[in-house]
Amino acid sequence: MVSRRFVLKRLLLLFPVLFGVATVVFAILHLSPGDPAVTIAGERASQEFINEIRSDLGLDDPLWQQYLRFLGDVATLEFGQSYQINRGTPVSEILANRLPITIELALLGELAGLLFGLPLGILSAVKQDTWTDHLTRVGALSGISIPIYWSGPLLILLFAQFFGLLPTSGRIGSEYFIEPVTGFILVDTLLAGNIAAFQSAVYHLFLPVVVLGIYQMALLSRMMRSSMVEVIRQDYMRTARAKGQGSKITIMKHGLRNAFIPVITVIGIQFGSLLGGAVLTETVFEINGIGTLLVDAISQSDYPVVQATVLVFAVLYTLVNLGVDITYSILDPRIEQ
């Protein structure tokens, strides 16, 4: 059983981290050489107009006042309006539309990685130092060495262009319009009862999930292998076998539960690489998630969008790790001490 005190303590620890994250984002944007007022007004605007915008945005105020105002805005989830990408649209609205798309992609990528990575890692550990093991290990190392922005385009070339099996880019066929309810396209198409649209969404997601999943699969199978190898060496495993238990049952009953514990932490830590991978995947497949939003916002100096997106990514990552820590404490109660 996980104690309420542990969860409470971890939740309270969130605040200093989020405060630090917000401070870093504020610092980054204020160190950037660009002037937001010039970006809004346009390069050819008069100096008076630029000054007017500067005072409207409060950019003339002392830095500490801007900082406090920024913290207040973050606390109330008030991120202002977009300067460039959707000029005048509230940033929170843009994020609400695009965040589910990234989450959907990331979750499916992680799922694919778990589904294939964990069994491969276990197999590799059980067959330690055989050809199966060597092949799996080299495969896993190759998987984390191949950049998504290389494998993605090559797979598009092969499966979409050459064989014509799958669409090249986007999230769903342009002929379908689905009313957003949850924002997750797979869910929304099903809610709308539109099977053809659902199928189109699945086809569009297939390659992005494969590309993102390969990387996660490679990472997870490595972690699972080393964790399992460690567990197989333990005394309790030998005892279980000595009792006359079949080695398959031993591995299932005693091995897995113990081997999963370190892997769960790794899933949390690697969620960061999953999100980074999602940004690259979205760029390659032209998917309108918050990854492409961030890249566009940075190249167009759309500061409110940049700060909100970076914050959302950091919060997402932090929350996943919080969840992982709590799961960990359930599986391994010793961690509380």
Partner: protein, 305 residues
């Protein structure tokens, strides 16, 4: 004792320790790690060869009239030519130089920064430790590529690829600080630390002569693992449009241009070969880093992530 003889004894001691270390012998008995080492050596040789042989301005200039544009691989153009009629082969080789150079600077800078911060945090403890490590924790709460993307913007555009190096250095530093702090704390627990202190060693001497050398193994492993990551991340930033300038023969830029302008019009070789070399190089570092981690003293292994 003159400083010269002193450094000579340090060196001999270091080499002897290395020779006697089970780390190195175990590493060299790992075939995959040796394969990684060979790949890395080959890439470095190619990089230096390309740097010494080719003139960068020739590689940058368009070659219309001299070469056909988007010609497929052939004996004359082993990797084909790109949309500016440039021969891709020497450009890919020169890309190795960029990868090695910028990767090395990134890893070296984050190692030095991280080692400094980690050792100081471990040694002084209390408030110093808290300030340093909580700052590192905040930086670690960002997904790394996303923090790098945001950090790239604080450098002026003229910095080109150095923007990516600067951003990634800041992103990787906390990992080194964490590893080094963990390793240093273990070393500081040991009795010889107390003995050295009892003999009257000053703080800097204790840290540099005793704590640091004993943390070298985990630091080396972390550096090797980060090397591949640095090369792949620098290219990723270039691919996303933050790093190399257009036309620069870096793997990331060639990949980006090749995918955008060549891949779907049939010129697959334009992005294929830069990507292949990039993946192979990163694989080399991952093979070596993985073998190094396995060869590491189990007590230190848990400090490396």
């Amino acid at each position: 004792m003159s400083s010269k003889t002193q450094s000579a004894t340090v060196d001999r001691g270091f080499i002897e320790r290395l020779r006697a270390s089970p780390f190195l012998s175990q590493l060299l008995s790992n075939r995959l790690a040796v394969a990684g080492l060979i790949i890395i050596a080959a890439v470095v040789v190619l990089a230096v060869y390309a740097r010494l042989t080719y003139d960068l301005s020739n590689l940058l200039a368009t070659q219309f009239g001299t070469n056909p544009s988007e010609a497929p691989p052939s004996l004359q153009y082993p990797f084909g030519t790109d949309g500016q009629a440039r021969n891709i082969f020497p450009r890919v080789l020169y890309g190795a130089w960029y990868a090695v150079l910028y990767g090395t600077v990134t890893v070296a800078a984050s190692t030095v920064l991280g080692v400094g911060l980690g050792i100081i945090a471990a040694y002084y403890g209390d408030l110093t430790d808290n300030i340093i490590m909580r700052t590192m924790d905040v930086l670690l709460s960002f997904p790394s590529l996303l923090l790098a993307l945001a950090l790239v913007t604080i450098f002026p555009e003229e910095f080109g690829l150095w923007r990516a190096v600067g951003a990634l250095t800041l992103v990787y530093t906390p990992r080194f600080a964490r590893v080094v702090r963990g390793a240093a704390l273990k070393v500081l627990e040991d009795e010889y630390t107390d003995a050295t202190r009892a003999l009257g060693a000053t703080d800097p001497r204790l840290l540099v002569r005793h704590v640091l050398p004993n943390c070298l193994a985990p630091i080396t492993v972390q550096s090797t693992l980060n090397y591949g990551l640095a090369i792949i991340d620098i290219a990723a930033l270039s691919f996303l449009g933050f790093g190399a300038s257009p036309g620069e023969p870096t793997w990331g830029m060639m990949l980006s241009n090749g995918v955008e302008y060549g891949l779907f019009s049939g010129a697959w070789w334009w992005s294929f070969f830069p990507g292949l070399l990039l993946a192979l190089t990163v694989l080399g570092f991952n093979l070596l880093g993985d073998g190094m981690r396995d060869a590491l003293d189990p007590r230190m292994r848990e400090t490396v992530d």
